[in-house]
């Protein structure tokens, strides 16, 4: 199954019957978002060279493998970023933990 078919199948899985048919437009949008996401994250990871070149190479390779093995990612990401209060609250708590940990322990121990 090629990537296009996988994306069509994923969109069908995610959206309910009420959301209308899967069109060329929705599939190409998903494909564009997928490529944009992967390209942007990989380019952003190159910035890790400022910290360590080895860390940058390892991070790029690991993330590339993760992306390739778990494509399509955008459909999952869209599913996660819904309007449900529980999921929003979950990510709010995760973000708070990350921010506090970064500032508190990050600055004291790095």
């Amino acid at each position: 199954m090629n990537l296009y078919d996988m994306i069509v199948k994923k969109i069908k899985d995610i959206q309910g019957a009420d959301d209308g048919p899967v069109t060329n437009l929705s599939t190409t949008s998903m494909l564009t978002a997928e490529i944009t996401l992967i390209a942007s994250v990989l380019v952003a990871l190159i910035m890790l060279r400022q910290v360590s070149t080895v860390l940058m190479i390892v991070a790029v390779l690991v993330v590339l493998v993760v992306f390739l093995t778990s494509m399509p990612i955008m459909s999952r990401l869209k599913k996660e970023q819904n309007d449900s209060l529980s999921s929003m609250m979950f990510y709010v708590i995760i973000a708070m933990t990350v921010v506090i940990a970064l500032f508190y322990w990050g600055n004291l121990n790095v």
Binding site: S29, T36, S40, Q81, I100, L108
Partner: protein, 501 residues
């Protein structure tokens, strides 16, 4: 003329209260709203630069008359430099921000009174209160005062959504309030910890305490306060993880309301971002956190925008993505980068307002914002379509419009700062923004009209078209003469980059 500085906050509050009293008097509201709204962009143009002290007096160092009657242990120490009053600072950057906020406020109010059959005093009240709160947030040098107006702006936002009468608005407003009830107290806790450690809420005094060694810069409580304030910043400006609720809020407001709410988000982003930079720029993590969050906002906002079938939601996500560009400028920390980021903020406020009001015409005429059900509207509104198209070009950074200049500056700044990767990502995401916009434009205006699409209102209010033209003219002027805008922003950027504020 420094009396005009407090009036920039007081006048919108008085306008809000007055219009609320006129509720149900439709004609009076329409006329009075337009007359009062003219004061919003006029006041910052008339006011002189300077400081204003609310509820107190200037620092003893600047007031020898008062200092002469006090003992030397007060006048000779750090106490003499502290600001006992709530200080409002009005310089060139603040003038530009308050002017742009006032202009968008004026056009939003102008559009709203003509697009609504029965103009509501309550709705105008919310818009005016929001403008007052944001003006105070831009001007104040007192972090607790900022928090108070931050809360007023959040309540005004919820109010704007509640009175919109759009399906699902109550639920979205409630969710926003619940999330706010988690994030806002944490921001307040951060401010309280800052007060506990430094003994001050005035930002200049806090910086003085840290720089002179009166407070240990690595004090764990100070670091925790920084984390909490950053978290409040994420909520106030709609950065991840609050981007989903923020885009939902945009989509559940009237077009004029969405235009105002996005302006609130951008100016909150700028005001709190500047405070974080001023107080905590000595922490190695602050630059990386600002850059990381901004990158995440750009990537998530723009990739999510392309998947949307609701035009208002799409612009909402694009607005979140555009916030990332501003953050990159601030996070780079160089004078050029910060200037570019602030310029991008000004541009984003104007362009997003143009797009919300422009696509709002579609919703006004059809009552539909789902692109699957729209089409063929170019035949009916070719001029509005052209204005919206140019607005979309501006957002994507097409020359010679304003965002082209600011995005080009941002890319140059990122290369100069040693982060060419950021430049590559910004170019890539600008291309995707263009594609996202063209997809929406095609589905709404260019493809054949669906047979079941009903046009409920044929005529478009002239006020809406005038607002779109004014916003587009500003986009073109700022695009052709960027140096005029950046000359207003450069002093603030220089002081932030040099760490001397």
């Amino acid at each position: 003329m420094n009396l005009l500085i407090p009036l920039m906050v007081i006048v919108p509050i008085l306008c809000a209260l007055f219009l609320n009293l006129l509720h149900k008097k439709d004609r009076a509201i329409k006329t009075v709203t337009i007359i009062l709204a003219l004061a919003l962009p006029a006041l910052p143009l008339l006011a002189n630069y300077g400081l204003h002290y609310f509820g107190g007096y200037e620092p003893l160092l600047q007031n020898p008359t008062l200092a002469n009657n006090l003992p030397s242990f007060i006048t000779g120490g750090a106490l003499a430099t502290f600001h006992p009053a709530i200080t409002y600072s009005f310089q060139s950057a603040q003038q530009l921000f308050v002017f742009i906020l006032g202009l968008v406020g004026l056009l939003a109010l102008f559009t709203s009174v003509y697009e609504t059959r029965r103009p509501s005093g309550v709705y105008a009240y919310m818009l005016f209160m929001g403008v007052a709160a944001m003006t105070a947030i831009i001007l104040t040098d007192d972090i607790f005062n900022l928090y108070v107006f931050f809360e007023i702006a959040a309540l005004a936002t919820v109010g704007i959504v509640l009175v919109s009468n759009i399906k699902g608005n109550y639920e979205t407003a409630l969710k926003y309030m619940i999330l706010g009830s988690v994030a806002s107290p944490l921001l307040l806790l951060g401010i309280a910890l800052l007060l506990g450690v430094t003994g001050n809420v005035n930002v200049t005094d806090i910086i003085y305490s840290i720089k002179t060694g009166a407070v240990d810069p690595q004090n764990p409580v100070l670091l925790l306060a920084c984390g909490l304030i950053v978290f409040g910043w994420l909520y106030g400006s709609g950065l991840p993880p609050f981007h989903t609720i923020k885009s939902a809020i945009y989509s559940k407001a009237l077009p004029s309301g969405s235009a105002m709410i996005q302006a609130f988000s951008v100016f909150t982003f700028i005001a709190l971002g500047i405070i974080i930079l001023r107080i905590f720029s000595y922490l190695p993590f602050s630059q990386w956190v600002i850059l990381g969050v901004s990158l995440l906002a750009m990537i998530l906002g723009i990739t999510m925008a392309i998947l949307q079938t609701d035009i208002k939601r799409m612009i909402g996500f694009l607005a979140v993505g555009e916030l990332g560009y501003i953050g990159i400028g601030l996070g780079l920390g160089t004078t050029f980068g910060i200037t570019a980021g602030l310029f991008q903020a000004v541009n984003e406020v104007i362009i997003t307002a143009l797009l919300f009001i422009g696509f709002g015409v579609v919703v006004y005429q059809t009552g539909i914002s789902n692109t699957r059900k729209l089409g063929g509207l170019m035949v009916r509104n070719p001029w509005v379509a052209l204005l919206v198209l140019l607005g979309g070009f501006a957002m994507a950074g097409v020359p010679p419009l304003n965002a082209f200049q600011s995005k080009l500056m941002l890319i140059q700044a990122s290369i100069d700062a040693g982060f060419p990767e950021l430049g590559i990502i910004m170019i890539l995401l600008s291309i995707v923004t263009f594609m996202t916009f063209m997809k929406a434009f095609h589905t709404v205006y260019l493809r054949p009209k669906p047979a079941d699409l009903e046009i409920k209102t044929e005529t478009i209010p002239k006020a809406t078209v005038i607002s779109l033209v004014v916003l587009l003219v500003v986009c073109i002027i700022f695009g052709l003469f960027p140096q005029y805008v950046t000359s207003y922003l450069q002093p603030l950027a220089t002081s932030l980059a040099g760490g001397v504020v």
